[in-house]
């Protein structure tokens, strides 16, 4: 049965390997030059000395060369990639069988259809986890110098590192499998799965993620530069270090209030907790979608 899954998806596997290879080439080229520049600009010693304050020259030189890595345009394009991978692999999984009539061949063998689907889903999910982990590892490696400057909490690092990229892929895959079963056609199923995936992805990112844990606060007077003395956690290398004075902290809203001026922020060491919470949300959605698909197929009329 696992062989059957492999045989049906091997062209997708080769496609994914090609994408990974392309990503690796890009990452090695960019990552190597980033490392070289990082050393030449003397950023390491500057960071060790002062968390980035007082070395604007070095930071802006680095920014000139690699600033596109942290800008919104880069993020918006890269944002959709996990979703595309998920729906491209997921939508045809059942829909293609229904479109081509091969379900009559597949489901009239001595393996019940629910088991057929379960084995297929387990195999393909395993493959996607490996793919997601490999992509994450490559991205994390090449971005490492950049992340030493901006930390792991900004969109461009957080969304492509740790656990969440793999969870995003799985969620899009789960939605697409279910959509393929319900709509019975691959291309419409891809669209029908991608749109809610993207909506949930953005809602989680902008509305839920800042509140996964209650933010810490710090009085503006206690920070090296006051509330607005340094970057406030937005995009760009000008935000080094953030207003808390500690690289990697995610500053939510430096503000002046009636009870004194406060900065609320998520500290850098919450990265893995936040990653686990967010990955958990998307994995739960995946499990719900795939479980529904198996249940529906088991009960399916024809």
């Amino acid at each position: 049965m696992i062989w059957v899954s492999w045989r049906q998806h091997r062209s997708a596997v080769f496609g994914c390997l090609a994408v990974l290879a392309g990503l690796a080439v890009y990452a090695i080229m960019l990552g190597t030059s980033m490392r070289t520049a990082f050393g030449q600009d003397g950023l390491a010693s500057c960071l060790a000395r002062s968390q980035g304050t007082g070395c604007f020259g070095a930071v802006s030189a680095f920014d000139n060369e690699f600033g596109s890595e942290v800008n919104v345009a880069f993020w918006s394009v890269a944002l959709i990639v996990p979703g595309l991978i998920g729906v491209l692999v997921g939508a045809p999984l059942i829909a293609r069988e229904l479109e081509y009539g091969t379900w009559r061949l597949a489901w009239s063998q001595s393996v019940p259809r629910a088991r057929w689907l379960t084995v297929k889903l387990a195999t393909v999910t395993g493959g996607l986890i490996v793919l997601g982990a490999a992509m994450t590892a490559i991205i994390t490696w090449y971005r490492a110098p950049m992340d030493r400057l901006i930390g792991h909490f900004l969109h461009n690092s957080y969304d492509f590192e740790g656990l969440v990229p793999t969870a995003y892929i799985l969620c899009a895959f789960g939605f697409a499998v279910l959509a393929g079963l319900l709509i019975r056609r691959s291309i419409p199923a891809m669209i029908a799965a991608f749109i809610p995936w993207l909506a949930i992805r953005l809602i989680v990112e902008f509305m839920l993620r800042p509140h996964f844990l209650a933010p810490l606060t710090i009085a503006c007077s206690a920070t090296p530069g006051g509330c607005f003395g340094h970057g406030n956690g937005g995009y760009g290398l000008s935000a080094i270090p953030p207003a808390t004075g500690h690289i990697g902290d995610w500053v939510l809203n430096p503000s002046t209030g009636p009870s004194g001026n406060l900065i609320s922020y998520q500290p850098a060491d919450r990265f893995w907790i936040f990653q686990s919470i967010e990955a958990g949300i998307f994995v739960a959605l995946t499990a719900a979608a795939l479980g529904t698909a198996i249940w529906l197929l088991h009960r399916r009329t024809a």
Binding site: R7, T102, R104, W107, S110, P112, R113, A114, A302
Partner: protein, 312 residues
């Protein structure tokens, strides 16, 4: 799965008041059949008659809404491995994975069927001259049908179900396909069900007949018995149905005479033969047509294609 005993004499296949509803419409209803071991059953009916519905319930692909199916005395349960393993199934248009080679398809069959007979599968491809390395999409329609049939036979299931196997084949491929089915059936005591809307194709091969229309069984039984039980009478046009020696199945009136197909009552036949009547035995196709015309009303007879190739 060959633990059945063909010598036990019980029916291979039994359906008991079987029905399947799609929303508010019944695709098939009240279908009660008993088919003996070794029979080659022709399942005839127009498109939409419920043939595929019946066959999918027999194979375990479709859950009945009411009633049940049993194969060799064991009740079928949709989507259960034991039920699926008892039936070899060649679906309409014999679907195959187009980018799989024949060898890949057989490997799939082996992976998904405990009773898979690889030797049989390979030997059949050798006999038919189909290379194992050839991709399914490179095969002719006839060869694809043969690969599908081989996959169904290699399951070693005691019951073989063929859904419209001939409709997409040219006449030569049809003949070759049916020859292979008959060789397999005679050689192994297989029970075979073939659905078709091409009546004349079935006449040569089937010894059992089931006529299905509008989701109901119109006629079922051994073909020879059914043919023997029906006569075509030519009688004066004025003759009322009630005077004919049995149940009138179909009647067509011309200027002075009527041709009436009757399921005869043997007792009345002896008594009521009259001067001026002619009686002749019916043919397979004539019999099927009469039941189909009866079920649909005579006005729609033109919709039914008997002998020529039907493309859907």
């Amino acid at each position: 799965m060959t633990e059945h005993d063909p010598g036990s004499g019980g029916p291979t296949l039994r359906t008991d008041r079987l029905g399947r509803r799609y929303g508010r419409v019944w695709g098939l209803r009240d279908c009660t059949l008993e088919v003996p071991t070794g029979a080659v059953v022709g399942l005839v009916g127009p498109n939409g008659a419920g043939k595929t519905t019946l066959l999918e319930m027999i194979t375990g692909l479709l859950e009945p809404t009411e009633g049940q199916v049993s194969v060799f005395g064991q009740t079928s349960r949709a989507h259960h491995p034991a039920t699926l393993a008892r039936v070899g199934y060649v679906a309409q248009d014999h679907p195959l994975y187009r980018d799989f080679s024949v060898a890949d398809l057989f490997r799939l069959g082996r992976a998904m069927n405990p009773g898979w007979d690889q030797e049989l599968a390979a030997a059949r491809m050798g006999t038919l001259g189909i290379p194992l390395k050839r991709k399914a999409r490179q095969l002719s329609g006839g060869q694809q049908a043969q690969v599908s049939l081989t996959m169904a036979l290699a399951k070693r299931a005691p019951l073989l179900v063929l859904d419209e196997p001939l409709s997409s084949l040219d006449p030569v491929a049809r003949l070759e396909f049916m020859r292979e089915v008959m060789v397999a059936a005679v050689g192994t005591g297989l029970t075979v069900i073939i659905s078709s809307h091409v009546v004349s194709e079935l006449e040569r091969f089937c010894d059992w007949l089931v006529v299905l229309a509008h989701g109901h069984v119109q006629l079922a039984g051994p073909a020879d018995d059914l043919i023997a039980a029906h006569w075509l009478f030519t009688v004066p046009r004025a003759t009322p149905d009630a005077e004919l020696p049995g149940r009138v199945i179909h009647r067509s009136d011309s200027d002075r005479h009527s041709a009436v197909l009757v399921r005869v009552d043997p007792v009345r036949l002896a008594v009521e033969a009259r001067a001026g009547w002619q009686a002749e035995p019916v043919g397979f196709e004539q019999l099927v047509m009469a039941y189909l015309q009866r079920s649909s009303g005579a006005a729609t007879t033109g919709n039914y294609v008997t002998s020529q190739v039907v493309t859907r």
